[in-house]
Symmetry: C2
Amino acid sequence: MDGISLEELQLATRNHGMPLEALAYDVTPAGLHYLLIHYDIPAVDAASWRLSVGGAVGRQLSLSLPDVRARPEVTLPVTLECAGNGRTGLEPRAVSQPWILEAVGTAEWTGTPLRGVLEEAGIADGAVEVLFTGLDRGVEGEVEQPYERSLPLEEALREEVLLAHSMNGRPLLPQHGFPLRLVVPGWYGMTHVKWLRAIAVLTEHFEGYQHSRSYRIRQTEDEPGEPVTLIRPRSLMMPPGIPDFLTRKRFVDAGEVVLRGRAWSGLGAVVRVEVSADGGRSWTDAELGSAASRFAWYPWRFLWNATPGEHELCCRATDSTGETQALGPSWNLGGYTNTAVQRIAVTVR
Amino acid sequence: MDGISLEELQLATRNHGMPLEALAYDVTPAGLHYLLIHYDIPAVDAASWRLSVGGAVGRQLSLSLPDVRARPEVTLPVTLECAGNGRTGLEPRAVSQPWILEAVGTAEWTGTPLRGVLEEAGIADGAVEVLFTGLDRGVEGEVEQPYERSLPLEEALREEVLLAHSMNGRPLLPQHGFPLRLVVPGWYGMTHVKWLRAIAVLTEHFEGYQHSRSYRIRQTEDEPGEPVTLIRPRSLMMPPGIPDFLTRKRFVDAGEVVLRGRAWSGLGAVVRVEVSADGGRSWTDAELGSAASRFAWYPWRFLWNATPGEHELCCRATDSTGETQALGPSWNLGGYTNTAVQRIAVTVR
C-alpha cells in the first residue's frame, strides 16, 4: 500500500470503522458501528425539525418527529456496509475514505415503513424515483450540495424500507442521522440517507452528484459505468489470539482454536462460508448459523487445529446467487465493492 | 506530512476521533468520544467478572459488579484527551496512532471513589503507588503484557479519582471499558485504565512498559525522559461553515460568524482563549464560558466579521499556571502532548 495522504487521514480520523473483534456481537453496540459522513454531522433541533414529502404526489406532507413516531412501527436488524469497504486493497487507490475492511455494522433499526408515507401523500402517475435529501451540506467535486440520493420507485415501495428514528432501541445518535434516516435493507450505505429533511417523488431519473459522479463502477472518468446498488457477499473473521499493538499481527496459542466471524450479502441468503489456513490454497466449510433477519449478517464458526508456525487465515462467503468472494480484488476507479477475501497473518506459538 | 503507513492506518480505522463539530455538545454523545485502545476490546461477562484489590493491603478484596455499584456513587463531567493528540503535527512523526487533533471528548462518568475502596482494603505502611491492570492483553515492543499503569499513591487517593461503571448515565460501552474503568480527572487518557480486573498497592515504583518505554517525553531512546502526566492546555474550534468532502477545507458566507469551541487543561483552570483570523499574527480575546466541573472543558465563542477571501483561523488557550499554547510544535520521540495551535483554512465567499 502506498502512503496514505493527509486528505485520506482526515477522513479516517472522522469516519470510524468497526474494530473486527466487534464481530462478536449479533447487534453492534452503540459507537462501534461504522460511520461514513460526507460533510459535517448536523446538530438538529428535534422540536423544529420537519420532514417534507412532496414532488409528484397528490398532497404534500410536513411531518414532525411525533407525527413520524405515531405511525406504524417496525424493528428490523439490518447489516450496513460502506460501498468503499476494502478500498485500500486496490492499487492504485481512489483518494477517499481509506477503509481496510472495517466499514460494517449491524443495528436494530426502528421506524415506519416509507411505503405508508408515500401512499398517504399519493404517488402521481408517471413517478419513477423517490429522492431523499439530508440536512448535511458540503462541497464535493467543486459542487456545493446537500447529501441526497434517489431510489427507483419499486425499491422505495419495498415493505422493509424504513424511515428510522431509533437504533438499538434508542433514538438515533447524532452521527447516525438524528432525528430520522432512511434504511434500505440490502443496499450499500450511501443509500441510507441520514438527517432526512425532504422526500420528493420524481417523474424523471435523478442525476445528482452522488449518482452520476460518485458510487459508480467504472474504469475511467469517461465511461458512465454502472451504479453501486446492493451489497455483494463478504465474510469477515474476528482476528484470533492477541494483537501486536502496532502491526496488529496476531499471536495464537497452539491447539484447538475456535475461529468466528460473520457473513452477509444484499443479493441473497448466505449459503456457505469457507475457511483457509494456508492463504487460500485449500478451503474447508465453516459451520454457518442463522441470521436475525434476512438483511442481517450470519454468524459462522470453524474449529482450527493451530500448529506452531506462521499461518495466513482467510474466509470467503457464497450467497444464493452463486457469487463467491474472489481471492484478489477487481479494480475500479472509485474503489468500490472490493470483496476480495480477508487475510490475517497469525503466529502460532 | 509524510504518507501514513499501513500500520498507522490500521490504528486510525480502529481508534476513532471526535469529529470537531461535536465540540457543540457539553457532553459528548455516545460513539463520538475519542477512543484509543492498545490491544483488542474484551467482551466481558459481567456476571463472572470480579475486581481484585490486593498487594500491600490489610485484606484483599474481590468485588463483583453489584458490589461496586452498591458503593457510594459520584457523577463527574471529565474531559479526556489522548496524550498522542496532535501527533501528526510533528516531523519526523512517531509511528503510532496518527491523531490530527480529534483525540478528545467529555463524558459524565459515574462510579465510586477509589479512595474508599483502598481504605476498605487498608493501605499498608510503605505503599508508594497503586497499579491498575486491565483485561486487555497484547504485544507491544516485543513484550507480551496486559495493559497496566500505576499512579503515585497521593494521586490515587484524590477524592475525584473514580472506579467508573457508567458513562453519560448508561453502563459503560464495551469500547470504553465495560464493566469498570479508572477515571483520573486531569490526566491524559493512558492513565484511565479500562476493563479493570486488578488493583494492587505497591511498595516500589512500577516500571512496566507503559511507563518506562511508552508515554515519556524524550528526544532519544537513550535518555529516560519525563513521564507524561497531566493534560496541557489546549483549545479547539468547531470548523465554521461547510466542508469540502475530501480536503475538509471550509467555505463560509461573508458577514458576522459566531466561532465556537472548547478549551481545557489538566494543570489548572482555563483563564483565557484567544482567536486569530490571520494565522496567528494577531489575537483577540474570545468570550469564555464556565465549565461543568473543574475537570471538564470550557465553552468559548467569538464573533468574527468574515470578509471575502482566504483566512486561517486559530485559537489558543491559557491556563491558570500561565501556560499558553505555542504557535508551533515542540518535538519529542513518542509524539506526545503537541498542543500547537489549531489552524483552519477558510474561504469566505
